[in-house]
């Protein structure tokens, strides 16, 4: 009987010591402003997204996938659910006032995807920030100009 009481007491002490100080530390790391574990989600531009927030939170990948197949295979280029439109509204400016790329943890895709531990391949091929205001022709032609290698053949 004594042993049982001692065990319960020790368990209670252990739980309290793990629970309270640990939770506070994690909350501060997660989001210092709100004191929660949720990710920081940057606000997009404009009044509203193409669908309401709850729908987009769960289904944005389906919209993108659907649009991607229509565009690549059939050439349907409506802009409503395109990745380009996502970037144009949701891009986050970095310290140099230019939009950050996916390599920066404050990128709007990463803020949630890092939290949810879901890795995405989109930006291996697609640009992760809007084209406007970033690229110049000089930037495009840095390095050696492609396509000028000569191939010899005979007619």
């Amino acid at each position: 009987m004594n042993l049982r009481l001692i065990c319960i007491a020790m368990l209670a002490v252990t739980l309290v010591s793990i629970g309270s100080p640990g939770a506070v530390v994690y909350a501060e790391e997660g989001n210092a402003a709100n004191n929660t574990l949720l990710p920081v989600i940057p606000m997009g531009q404009g009044d509203a997204c193409v669908k309401d927030t709850d729908f987009m939170r769960r289904n944005h990948m389906e919209l993108l996938k659907h649009q991607r197949d229509e565009t690549v295979l059939d050439g349907v280029r409506s802009e409503q659910y395109s990745l380009k439109e996502c970037l144009d509204c949701h891009a986050v400016a970095g310290s140099d006032a230019k939009p950050v790329t996916f390599t920066d943890s404050s990128h709007f895709c990463r803020s949630c995807h890092d939290y949810a531990a879901v890795s995405i391949d989109c930006f291996q091929c697609h640009a992760s920030r809007p084209e406007s205001g970033i690229l110049t022709d000089d930037h495009q032609f840095s390095g050696v100009f492609p396509g000028t290698a000569q191939v010899n053949g005979s007619e």
């Binding site: 991607r68 197949d69 229509e70 690549v72 295979l73 059939d74 050439g75 349907v76 280029r77 409506s78 802009e79 380009k84 970037l87 790329t101 291996q124 091929c125 697609h126 640009a127 992760s128 920030r129 809007p130 084209e131 970033i134 690229l135 022709d137 930037h139 495009q140 032609f141 840095s142 390095g143 050696v144 100009f145 492609p146 396509g147 000028t148 290698a149 000569q150 191939v151 010899n152 053949g153 005979s154 007619e155």
Partner: protein, 256 residues
């Protein structure tokens, strides 16, 4: 060489007859429409706006008049690189080339010519035949593309292409053009500026050639008998490169 003989040489057919397949497909479509009157299965109208799907009513093609193509000019190549965000890494063997100027020379006579060569957008593309994942595909309007979402980078298509038209991306890329996504581990080639075509514009190389080059390139619909390109290919002899392979490329050359 008389044009009749040349034409026969150009249209040398392979052993299989691709028109038979399309005939059967046409029969099947006709039957489908008859069985279900009032139900529109496919859009019949031409693809003319960004929201319309490409249709097989159109066959995009190009006619390049080498008589007007200057050996030293590479405006088409630089326009392509600028349009699609192609950058070199100082390795000409592996750097992406969607279009290149190829020097040819007849050793017998010494006659030499430099001609622009890009994906020839074959009617029977070998790259599509060999692709193990279906990533290499021909769009309804005849444009041959790579779906990079399904490309595994095996490069069979690069080996199959007799025109050496495809490139493999070896480097990690950033800040690609939004209309031309491209990334490490996938194969790519001339898209005939498909994003421009979908919004009723000409490919970048054709535009550059008429603006600053010799005006040698003509782009248009080979299926439309009223189009400029159809009239020209009907009025004088033009050649396809390696016509003997029976691939029926959409890109044709004059004065080769």
């Amino acid at each position: 060489m008389s044009s009749k003989v040349e034409d026969k040489k150009m249209t040398g057919k392979p052993d299989f007859d691709p028109t038979r397949r399309s005939f059967l497909a046409a029969m099947a479509t006709a039957a489908g429409v008859t069985l279900a009157p009032g139900v529109v299965l496919y859009g019949i109208s031409k693809s003319s706006s960004a929201n319309a799907a490409a249709t097989s009513d159109v066959r995009w093609g190009m006619l390049i008049d080498l008589g007007r193509c200057d050996n030293g000019c590479d405006d088409c190549v630089s326009a392509c690189a600028k349009e699609n965000g192609l950058r070199g890494f100082g390795r000409p063997e592996t750097d992406a080339q969607w279009i290149r100027k190829v020097d040819i020379k007849n050793p017998e006579t010494g006659y030499s010519k430099s001609l622009p060569v890009m994906c020839q957008h074959c009617e029977n593309p070998p790259c599509v035949d060999v692709c193990p994942t279906g990533a290499s595909f021909k769009r309804a309007d005849g444009i041959v593309l790579v779906n990079k979402h399904t490309c595994i980078g095996c490069r069979y298509c690069m080996m199959a292409c007799p025109y050496k038209a495809r490139s493999f991306v070896h480097e990690t890329l950033e800040d690609q053009k939004p209309h031309a996504p491209r990334g490490k581990g996938t194969v790519e080639s001339c898209t005939l500026c498909v994003h421009r075509i979908d919004s009723d514009r000409q490919p970048a190389c054709v535009e550059a050639c008429s603006d600053t080059g010799g005006g040698a390139m003509l782009f248009g619909d080979l299926n439309d008998p009223e189009s400029e390109i159809s009239k020209r290919v009907a009025s004088y002899a033009s050649q396809q490169i390696r016509a003997d392979l029976g691939l029926n490329p959409g890109v044709r050359y004059r004065n080769l």
